[in-house]
Symmetry: C2
Subunit: 159 residues, 2 copies
DNA sequence: TCCTTTAGTTGACTTTGTCCACATTATATT
DNA sequence: AATATAATGTGGACAAAGTCAACTAAAGGA
């Protein structure tokens, strides 16, 4: 693989790391961290979501997740409901309050995107969008292939 | 701006956040954190680099930066040299040891990229690269325009 | 049955990051 | 020049984020 291509990709990664860090620090508007917001989001997107799903999706430690979920439960943003089939697992649900918070976060996040793109023409915006979809599709396809080949049991270190 | 476009962009952001987090956690191979690696990188890229440049580029707290730089100095990865014109500032340089470490980090980072793209065809890789460059160019151009218009003194919260 | 795996929790700890007050020097204002 | 204001960096005290290892308990096999 060409040195120059690697250079460009790493440059993009630095650029996007910075952009995301600015975005993420803004979530502080509300009294919850990015990771908490993300957990609420994932719970709302999934059916029969369990803690371990989140551990894998978000790539964070089990014990840490356990604590965050406990906090969210204490603050009545989520509820744990024990399952019948497997009593180790708890299904996670947003409470009314949790949903309301997530709505608020979503509105803010949409607003961030609008600000970021503010000033660009529709066709520029669409170019960016298409570019993002290309990156995501290609890399995801590749990841899936990689996992199928290498048979790495749950280790995510070689994405 | 269209709901659907915003959706796609946020989806990309989640996807890329995850990817970068996996990448960044791998830097732990070496005994230095991502931010330290990034600081070494920035110092090597710049001429007459001062702490405050890094504070702004990396968007982190002044006091935190001060401590990191002190640590890097203690470990003899960087040197501070006082400037003549402005005795508040210190120019930062990598030591031999710092350069060697950065070389090692660079090799590892290149390797990460190669792994990530491993299995894709040359034309796919190039599509991704072009996509990245489009995103970066458009968003950077926009940011510069925004700053010129809004005259926000150093606040980075509206990237 | 016994062994292994999976899910989650807890304690103890480290690392990372933030806030505020401060010292020093430079720059702008009058 | 004198004074105010801004920029650069440091240190203390603290809070938040994240890690590691040991553990319980249930599930899923051989």
């Amino acid at each position: 693989m060409d040195k120059e291509i690697i250079y460009d990709i790493r440059q993009f990664n630095r650029f996007y790391t910075r952009l995301l860090s600015v975005f993420n620090n803004q979530i502080l508007d509300i009294d919850y961290s990015l990771i908490e917001a993300r957990i609420l989001f994932e719970i709302s997107e999934r059916t029969e979501c369990i803690a371990n799903n989140l551990v894998q999706e978000l790539n964070i430690d089990r014990s840490y997740m356990s604590r965050i979920l406990r906090k969210l439960e204490r603050e009545e943003l989520i509820e744990k409901k024990s399952t019948i089939m497997d009593s180790r697992k708890n299904f996670l649900y947003l409470t009314k309050k949790g949903e309301e918070l997530l709505d608020k976060i979503n509105i803010q996040s949409d607003e961030q995107i609008k600000q970021l793109f503010n000033g660009l023409t529709d066709s520029e915006i669409n170019e960016i969008r298409i570019s993002m979809m290309i990156i995501k599709e290609k890399l995801e396809k590749n990841k899936v292939r990689g996992e199928a080949n290498e048979h790495n049991n749950g280790k995510i270190n070689n994405t």
